[in-house]
């Protein structure tokens, strides 16, 4: 099987570690071979956090060759544009949570903020399918990643990975009320 590459990104503090671990384990539950790698370190302090997940029997490196991601997942708007432009292949798919954490230069007035139109424009040019998601009145911003996960599962964006695989993966990593709340939101967004 040809490799399927997932590039996950966002800003430090958005819960990229958890969604990445869920996707990784969901792929494993689906019986497919998987490798991944996280880039953290300094990035935890409001910098960019990237997690790369690769499916398939012929995958060697956990690092996705540049411009070869099939699916880009971003938890923030600026990072969605960056991922679509630098990591995603032509004709790939971008899912992003439409919240904005302005980078320093935007806040200082030295650069323009990224707009939804910027993303749509780039994606149209590159034949990229775009799925923006947002959930009003979330009780906890740390659940934004579940909204995104729901969209990934609901749209069947990762080949061979079904709703139950995601649910099992969540059960591996969470328990108690945290699991219940996250699973309920996931189910709602996946359109169970």
């Amino acid at each position: 099987m040809k490799a399927f590459n997932i590039y996950l990104t966002g800003v430090g503090g958005q819960g990229i570690g958890l969604i990445s671990e869920i996707v990784l384990r969901a792929v494993d539950h689906s019986g497919q071979r998987v490798k991944s790698v996280d880039t953290h370190g300094l990035a935890q302090r409001g910098g960019i956090v990237v997690s790369q997940i690769r499916l398939g029997d012929l995958v060697h490196s956990p690092l996705i060759p540049a411009g070869r991601a099939d699916l880009a997942i971003s938890l923030e708007r600026h990072e969605a544009l960056r991922a679509a432009a630098t990591a995603l292949r032509e004709g790939g798919c971008l899912v992003y949570y439409d919240t904005v954490w302005q980078p320093l230069t935007v806040r200082l007035g030295d650069a323009a903020a990224v707009t939804i139109r910027d993303i749509d424009h780039l994606c149209r040019k590159q034949g990229i399918r775009v799925i923006p998601v947002f959930h009003p009145d979330l009780p906890d911003i740390r659940m934004q990643n579940m909204v995104v996960l729901g969209a990934i599962a609901g749209n069947g964006l990762i080949p061979g990975v079904g709703l139950d695989h995601y649910r099992s993966a969540m059960g591996d990593l969470m328990s108690g009320t945290m699991l219940e709340r996250n699973r309920a939101l996931f189910d709602q967004r996946a359109g169970k």
Binding site: K35, T39, L42, V100
Partner: protein, 630 residues
């Protein structure tokens, strides 16, 4: 929920998806390691996180975060010469701190065995440089094993521990950032805990342990002989890998992550070269490599960072009069950066262009504004830099140190104009003050770093009377690497301890002028810095505020926690932009018309920003009502 601690101690064989750093801990358990020590630093802190997942009472080994890497190394050595298999781990530049002790280890008879785990950082993802620590192994006569993925991390550690114990010599396991942080399914063997032997087995007869003059020379002789024995093992070990594509023309020698990148880019190549991947960087399996060289017309040494393998392999070919063409590094760029798949494509394309359909595609333009790391919302360092900047003249010199506060060098603060390594700021600042009567010098220092390596610099400033000001940015934790405790936080890795208060340490060292303030008191901090820097003696300002990321996380875990946030009174906001342009909390967002709003994803309601607004348009949480009433 799967519990990591339970998994790490499982008796039966099992397979699980783990990070390289976690696989390492299971290997420590299986190997019977008894003592493990470290100082936190990326890419290795998750090793300690995995250790922490095992309840202390069940932990089959002792673990501590020591004061610094040198201390950690000495502790692990002491335990090992007493008969206990030990391991010390730290980041790449940590080895520079440990070096004075480390370079002697290869000379010693370490009866219990000792594995040194290094987390090198090609690409300088989270370090001041991308130094290649393989050089250290050569100068200290120690074997080095280099795994490429989590499965190999597990198997190579077991090998390193066995070898170390058998020969009584230290063995290095060299990891790199994306080997530490890679995840994949690893098959672990069963584990049968052995009854620990706690008896102190140190015996000077196993030595000598005194490396002086003639004794040192004799010890070097033994170390070199041991290394030759290990070379024989390096030739035969099953951990070596060859990938035979039946190509008599071309071969590649590669190790670690670059090997995986190579395999990746050769997937679509019709005539891929053969590959030899030795397990040992040092000592190199010379016969095996010579055989590989002899059976190919041309061999590429694909090597991340420096030319450690290349120079040895070229010497080997010369020595044995082999007619093979050896292609090493051809340009300075080959020495730089992580060997990702596209980097390896580029390096290989420059010598064998016919292997590929074309050169790697040019890096795509990134249309989004850059996102450098930031201090967190509510960070006490932000209040400190905002205030200190007002206390200093633009020509004054500010010296940074390692830690979250290093981020103060960025706009809008630009505080901390030089940086070197852990603990260096006070002495660098002292040097900047010589012959200099016009520009004040202020050095910054974090509290974990203070104990780690800063004390000699502080002692020197007192002893040699350097009239600079040290600002101790005390947040009560080792924040940058994930909130590990340190000597002044009142806890060590294992239990509650007495704090070592920085103020009393400073007093004990003879510092006469010590000021203390919470950084949220910005006006007071500014005044104190003006006072301190006006003195012509060494002075210290302890600028204190707890790490708000840690504090907020702890609060969130409590029941009944409610998120508080400041608000902007748009009727009073005159778009002065002090909050967003000078204070610079990432919570403030700017709209296209110059208006300012609060990012409700980010604000923690700490209110440290309120005092920065000249029109008093920032209201504390629930402040709207209060203001309306007034």
């Amino acid at each position: 929920m799967k519990k990591m601690g339970e998994m790490l101690l499982r008796r039966k064989a099992f397979s699980e998806i783990v990070m390289g750093n976690t696989a390492l801990v299971r290997a420590m358990v299986e190997a019977g390691t008894r003592v493990v020590s470290s100082y936190p630093g990326s890419p290795t802190p998750e090793i300690a996180a995995a250790i922490q997942s095992i309840p202390k009472a069940d932990r089959p080994f002792y673990f501590e975060f020591s004061t610094n890497e040198k201390v950690a190394t000495e502790l692990a050595y002491g335990a090992a010469v007493n008969g206990h298999l030990s391991t010390v781990f730290f980041k790449s530049v940590g080895l520079n701190v440990a070096a004075d002790t480390f370079v002697q280890l290869g000379l010693m008879n370490i009866i219990g065995g000792m594995v040194v785990v290094l987390g090198d950082d090609p690409g300088a993802n989270s370090s001041q440089n991308e130094q290649d620590n393989r050089h250290y192994a050569q100068m200290s006569y120690m074997p080095v094993l280099e795994p490429a993925d989590p499965g190999e991390v597990y198997r190579f550690y077991l090998e390193a521990a066995r070898l170390s114990l058998r020969h009584g010599m230290p063995v290095i396991l060299r990891l790199t950032t994306h080997v530490c942080h890679a995840k994949e399914k690893v098959a672990f063997k069963k584990w049968q805990p052995a009854k620990p032997d706690n008896s102190p087995r140190f015996d000077p007869a196993n030595g000598p342990y005194i490396p002086l003059t003639t004794l040192a020379i004799e010890k070097k002789r033994i170390a070199l002989a041991r290394l030759e024995v290990v070379r024989g093992h390096a030739e035969r070990t099953e951990l070596n890998r060859t990938v035979d594509h039946g190509n008599p023309q071309r071969g590649v020698i590669a190790m670690g992550l670059p090997f995986l990148s190579l395999m990746e880019i050769l997937e679509d190549t019709p005539t891929p070269p053969d590959i030899l991947k030795p397990a040992f960087v040092h000592p190199l399996p010379k016969d095996r490599i010579a055989r590989f060289l002899s059976s190919h017309k041309e061999v590429k040494i694909l090597e991340e960072l420096d030319d450690v393998l290349e120079t040895q392999i070229k010497a080997l070919a010369f020595e044995r009069k082999l007619s093979v063409t050896i292609v090493g590094k051809t340009q300075s760029e080959d020495w730089i950066g992580e060997y990702t798949p596209e980097k390896v494509h580029q390096v290989l394309y420059s010598c064998w262009p016919d292997l590929f359909e074309g050169p790697p595609s040019a890096q795509a333009v990134d249309p989004a504004p850059a996102r450098p790391a930031q201090m967190c919302p509510g960070c006490g360092h932000r209040s400190a830099f905002y205030a200190i900047k007002q206390a200093l003249a633009p020509t004054d010199i500010t010296v940074a140190d390692i830690g979250c506060h290093t981020l103060g060098f960025m706009p809008p603060y630009e505080m901390g104009q030089l940086l070197m390594c852990m603990g260096a700021s006070t002495a660098m600042g002292s040097g900047l003050r010589l012959f200099n009567t016009r520009r004040k010098v202020v050095a910054f220092m974090g509290d974990s770093t203070f104990f780690h390596a800063a004390l000699p610099g502080v002692v020197n400033a007192v002893f040699n009377a350097h009239p600079i000001t040290l600002i101790l940015m005390e947040n009560g934790t080792t924040a940058m690497t994930g909130h590990q405790d340190h000597a002044a936080s009142g806890r060590n890795f294992n239990e509650v301890t007495d704090k070592i208060p920085v103020r009393q340490v400073l007093e004990g060292l003879g510092v006469k002028h010590i000021f203390e303030v919470d950084t949220y008191q910005q006006a007071r901090l500014k005044d104190l810095v003006i006072q301190a820097t006006a003195m012509d003696e060494f002075s210290v300002v302890i600028a204190r505020h707890p790490c708000m990321l840690k504090f907020t996380r702890e609060q969130r875990r409590k029941s009944g926690y409610r998120q508080q946030q400041v608000q902007i009174d748009q009727d009073h906001c005159e778009h002065v932009h002090a909050c967003i342009e000078r204070f610079g909390c990432p919570t403030f967002s700017r709209d296209a018309k110059g208006g300012v709003s609060i990012n409700t994803d980010l604000c923690i309601g700490d209110g440290s920003c309120i005092q920065t607004c000249p029109t008093r348009a920032i209201l504390p949480a629930g402040g709207k009502k209060k203001r309306g009433a007034a």
